[in-house]
Assembly symmetry: C2
Homo-oligomer: 149 residues x 2
Amino acid sequence: MLRLSKLTDYATVILSFMARDKIQVHAAIEIAAVTGIALPTVSKILKSLVNANVLISTRGAKGGYILARKPQQITVATIISALEGPIALTECSISRQGCEQASGCDIGGNWSLINKTIHNALESVTLADLIRPVVVSEEVLVPVSSIYR
Amino acid sequence: MLRLSKLTDYATVILSFMARDKIQVHAAIEIAAVTGIALPTVSKILKSLVNANVLISTRGAKGGYILARKPQQITVATIISALEGPIALTECSISRQGCEQASGCDIGGNWSLINKTIHNALESVTLADLIRPVVVSEEVLVPVSSIYR
DNA sequence: ATTAAATAGGACTAGAATAGTCCTGAATTA
DNA sequence: TAATTCAGGACTATTCTAGTCCTATTTAAT
């Protein structure tokens, strides 16, 4: 099902809370309480987000986490890759090494186009968009086919 | 890394071979030999593709598999969902039940927009595109941001 | 200084999902 | 009737994910 890990899902929930809330600094334990996610898990996620420069941490009493950038500048692609590594659908899109599909596989290049497309889609949606109230317009279409034809 | 399963990857390799080859009917054992994928695994994949109406099978001696439609009419989205079920990034995009992120999660609607976008991207690329020689144009951009702004 | 609050980093475990195999049955051709 | 080939499902082993926990480090307050 082209799955995103649970942790990434949690991350968007956590970041949405942080972006919505007026208060700047949030301790891990506070975030755990608000979101209902267990503290150790929250900590783990927050650490990953710090490493990806999405959050800035402060240690010690009164410490905690704040957004490193404005919500408009934090993309969904960034969030995903913070928790799951590079966004790619297939192994060989990341590195060609180890792909031993000797004879059959000539489609690497095409996969990488699809990957770029999806990456770009995720890159164009930000945290600010995620916390925006949804106004659904059903007929939004993105013609990726133009890449090929 | 927003991963696609290995089996799905194999499926594209198998289908690419079948689409490229002039001969219509291919037995599982033959496909295994050409692609270098183990026979039981190939069989498993082919069965899934038959169930998804991507392939048609014929039993008995001289039996085998053929494409159910023209390569132009088989989308990447179809191939992926044949092997992995519905394309969605998060659980709650498939069903809202069981999402107990009581307080924190107000972003379901927005995720579903992203899902639609990606689904649409995958829907617009066909098997025919996959077997086409790649002509890379680096600056292809798909403005999903227009969905929100 | 000392204590309490908070993150950093990494090791570890249990459970779930995936990949892969195998077996038995059914259909078709020669 | 025998050989070939797919159908369906059970099964196993390995990998991955989610989640927990421990120790060290940093900072603020008293």
